[in-house]
């Protein structure tokens, strides 16, 4: 590539040829003795799987493009790892982003990107599946491709190279990485990976007819699989997209997402991986439902994973039981986008607490909605384990802004709920907020301080204790595709940093109260880059590549993230197109602008999204379709799906004494 000549970057120059499936471990081992935290590269986790190479027809390398400690607990990857390895004709191994210390030694010694299970070269696999929970992992994808010896650009790959498949929430707009990924899977992966495996297996068995092009064309005909190279994008004079057109008539005009129905039939992970190394989540997790229809307008996850599909109480019970036996963890996280909303949550918590009485097994929910919290539930959750802090996510500081984002809760209810928690023995409460929401003013953010002060004052009174604490955690809002805020202007880092500064001043005004309030925040700069990558189009790929060539990686880590490198690369690479960083971030879009992801179908009706955006501006709320009539977001009829919720009326039978 021309760019390589200008920016040589950290490229792999060694010859990486190996015998397919051979272990690189003997060559890796001497390198491990020279680096930090070598344990993350050796594999051998409890419940890891290793199959002989030649017993499988199709080989998948599954990557989480961040450090091992972040990637290992990822549920999505763990699910696909099991689902794929259950097939006798398929082998799946895991690979993670390699830290710069080892990457440098690997380039020196000519050791390619490897899997941690069999230490096999990623280059040898048929497929490289990469799960993007956040767009800040894109530079790590390029680093891994280079370390693997896979050409960065899809156009430079031949049929001997792995097919690079992107998944995860960020795959709902894969356009910024369209030059680097062969396909993207939209929506739930459990069934899609099986379909992809079938296609690859058949193509290989037939002697690879038509080469890579034919394989990708066959993949493009699988429901939910998007192959960017078969779609051409043209731009108008103002820089916006003029048209997205398919270049073959045997691929769909719009690609729709996949949805797994009946979660009880997909009880994965059955045997969660347990690392020796420390990871970000020292617990096992059971997903108690998927999807959310609360309608929070900022929340991409809630929009693209509709409808709500609950796992039943008995399904949850057996996953908890099997998972605890298989792992030895002492805490079980009941995961979902809003766990207290499960139709049987009270019963689930009580019956699980009964079941594990006396075993020091704790239950936890991720952040709880203020309006779904009750003390009985919280007591059941902490009955056998540790009474750690409680976390609520009001997200918006004022009642007004909470109407804008459609997460309505009154200040009185918020204070009452948190006070109840203090009165019942919790001493730590964490509150999550966002800054830079559409229509937000300084006053909206400053109300967070009033709220925190009120919470501490009322909490001290109700509990009779002085040592209660409230931590306010706040981050910059990034507008995401497929949400009503996809048209919004993103607040600039200067606006966000200024509001956070004002907030900090106000919290510290009254030291007697302020000392009980902690403030944790991130500056607005990484959010601006996340915004560029979230709502970017194919032109942004040039920026990502430039940043990586100049040494950018691990952008989710403040010690590696360089805002200057990003802004400078963006300015230089985008100038030729007449657009810039602000054009992608702070610019408000108009109703009929073709958005880069319009040909990717999350099921949401674009008109409904626009109307909901207008409702947001006029501070109008929308209710949850689980409890009120359908408001025509479009997902169920488009995707042929339906809401699946309880209660089932079933209960957990006590287990025989262990």
């Amino acid at each position: 590539m021309a760019q390589s000549a200008v920016y040589p970057g950290p490229v792999m120059t060694a010859d990486l040829r190996t015998t397919a499936g051979e272990s690189l471990y003997p060559r890796l081992e001497p390198l491990l003795a020279q680096i930090q935290k070598p344990i993350q590269y050796v594999g051998g986790e409890l419940n890891a799987q290793l199959k002989p190479w030649e017993t499988a027809d199709v080989h998948w390398a599954l990557m989480y493009p961040d450090a091992y400690e972040v990637g290992l607990p990822n549920q999505g990857l763990m699910i696909l790892y099991e689902v794929l390895n259950e097939r006798p004709d398929t082998l799946a191994e895991r690979t993670y982003a390699v830290w710069p210390d080892l990457a440098a030694l690997m380039r020196e010694a000519g050791v390619g990107q490897f899997t941690v299970d069999g230490h096999r070269a990623v280059r040898d696999f048929d497929l490289l599946g990469v799960s993007f929970a956040t767009e800040l992992g894109y530079t790590n994808l390029l680093e891994a491709l280079d370390l693997a010896g896979i050409p960065l650009h899809v156009v430079d790959r031949d049929e001997s190279h792995p097919v690079v498949v992107a998944g995860g929430h960020a795959a709902f707009n894969p356009e910024p990485v369209a030059d680097f990924v062969d396909c993207a899977v939209l929506g739930d992966g459990e069934q899609a990976v099986g379909d992809i495996t079938d296609v690859v297996k058949a193509w290989k068995a037939q002697g690879r007819p038509g080469g890579r092009e034919e394989l990708l064309a066959r993949l493009a005909r699988i429901d939910g699989v998007y192959v960017p190279r078969f779609y051409a994008v043209s731009y108008g004079p103002d820089g916006t997209i003029a048209a997205v057109t398919r270049t073959r008539d045997d691929v769909p005009e719009r690609v729709g997402k996949r949805t797994v129905m009946d979660l009880d039939e997909w009880p994965y992970p059955k045997t969660p991986l347990v690392p020796l190394a420390e990871s970000v989540h020292e617990r096992m997790s059971v997903e108690i439902f998927r999807g959310c229809t609360r309608g929070c307008r900022f929340c991409q996850a809630g929009m693209i994973t509709r409808p709500v599909r609950e796992r039943t109480i008995t399904g949850i019970g057996s996953m908890v039981e099997q998972g605890l036996k298989a792992t030895g963890y002492e805490e079980v996280g009941l995961l979902s986008l809003s766990s207290a909303d499960h139709s049987e949550i009270g019963q689930v918590a009580k019956e699980l607490a009964d079941r594990y009485e006396g075993t020091n097994t704790g239950l936890s929910l991720p952040s709880t909605r203020v309006d779904a919290f009750n003390v009985t539930l919280a007591n059941e959750l902490s009955r056998n384990g540790r009474r750690s802090g409680l976390t609520f996510a009001p997200e918006g500081g004022s009642e007004r802004i909470r109407r804008v984002i459609n997460k309505t809760v009154s200040k009185e209810d918020l204070v009452r709920t948190v006070t109840t928690a203090y009165a019942n023995g919790w001493t730590q409460v964490k509150l999550y907020f966002m800054c830079g929401l559409p229509t937000e003013t300084d006053e909206d953010v400053l109300e967070i301080a009033d709220l925190a002060v009120e919470v501490i004052r009322a909490g001290r009174e109700a509990s009779g204790r002085k040592d209660i604490r409230c931590t306010v955690s706040i981050g910059g809002f990034v507008p995401k595709p497929h949400t009503p805020f996809q048209w919004a202007s993103q607040a600039s880092p200067e606006v966000i940093d200024n509001r956070l500064r004002l907030l900090r001043q106000k919290i510290n005004e009254d030291r007697k109260i302020g000392r009980s309030i902690g403030l944790r925040y991130h500056d607005g700069k990484p959010g601006a880059i996340e915004g560029l990558l979230s709502r970017g189009d194919r032109r942004v790929g040039r920026v990502i590549e430039r940043v990586w060539r100049e040494g950018g990686k691990f952008d989710g880590w403040s010690e590696h993230f360089s805002y200057d490198r990003w802004t400078q690369s963006a300015a230089e690479e985008l100038a030729a197109f007449g657009v810039d960083l602000d054009w992608y971030t702070t610019r408000e879009r108009t109703e009929h602008e073709i958005l880069p992801w319009d040909h990717l179908d999350s099921g949401l009706d674009k008109e409904w999204l626009w109307d909901d955006w207008q409702d947001a501006i006029s501070e109008e709320e929308v209710a949850d379709c689980r409890w009120t009539p359908c408001y025509d977001c479009g997902v169920c009829p488009t995707m042929g799906t339906e809401i699946q919720i309880g209660p089932t009326g079933r209960s957990l039978i006590p287990l025989t004494v262990v």
Binding site: Y25, L32, P38, I39, G44, L276, E278, E282, G328
Partner: protein, 253 residues
Amino acid sequence: MARQPDGPPPPPTVQKLRIRYAKRGRLRFASHRDLARALERALRRAQVPMAFSAGFSPHPKISYLGAAPTGAASEAEYVEIGLAVRCDPEAVRAGLDAALPEDIAVLEAVEAAPGTGSLADRIDTSVWRLELPGLSLTELAPAVEKFLAADVVTIAKRTKNGLKDIDARPAVASAWVGDEAGCAILHMVVRQGTPAVRPDDVLAALAAVADLRPPSPPRAVRVAQGRLDDTGTVADPLGPDREARPLQEHAAI
């Protein structure tokens, strides 16, 4: 006054087991904290009836003794666990061994005999074996001789507060060399103490006295730990417990 959870205190420790285990193969790259986590989870999977501390955050009663450094293998790591129900030590050993990864082997478990003193008091020395790939015996032997002949060998050791000069010589009670399949082997008996002298420090000392620089990183194995006796070897730290306690009745686990 610290608040206490409602309900009765946890059951007391009724039996202490002292355990020797090995870390081998790939798991030589596990740190002490990694091993501690793996052990605690394995105790749960093996359903060993652990005694717990009281309070809102009950912890299983486990005491660790000085761990081999990350990157070094070991055949002699020690840990002591407190049980709430009496168990057959051999059954605990087998159950725990099965619940741990293959590269961690639980080698022995004995009941701590009352009145014989603490395990920590029976360990002050490590016996090491270092494989030095790519180095020949003829290169290694004179360097080791030179090191042993020296009174003081100062090396720079990396600590939390930056580099610090230490004398690596006094901790090394004895050292001898050998070779296997053309690979030089360094054996040594090293006293534990402060500042700790680890295999890497001895190699740094060999570089300092004889400019010896192995072409690739050594593979170190801690072969034994115990109290250094007059003969220059170490005594089995579990010996006193084994001698003090004949067979006894135990609850099955």
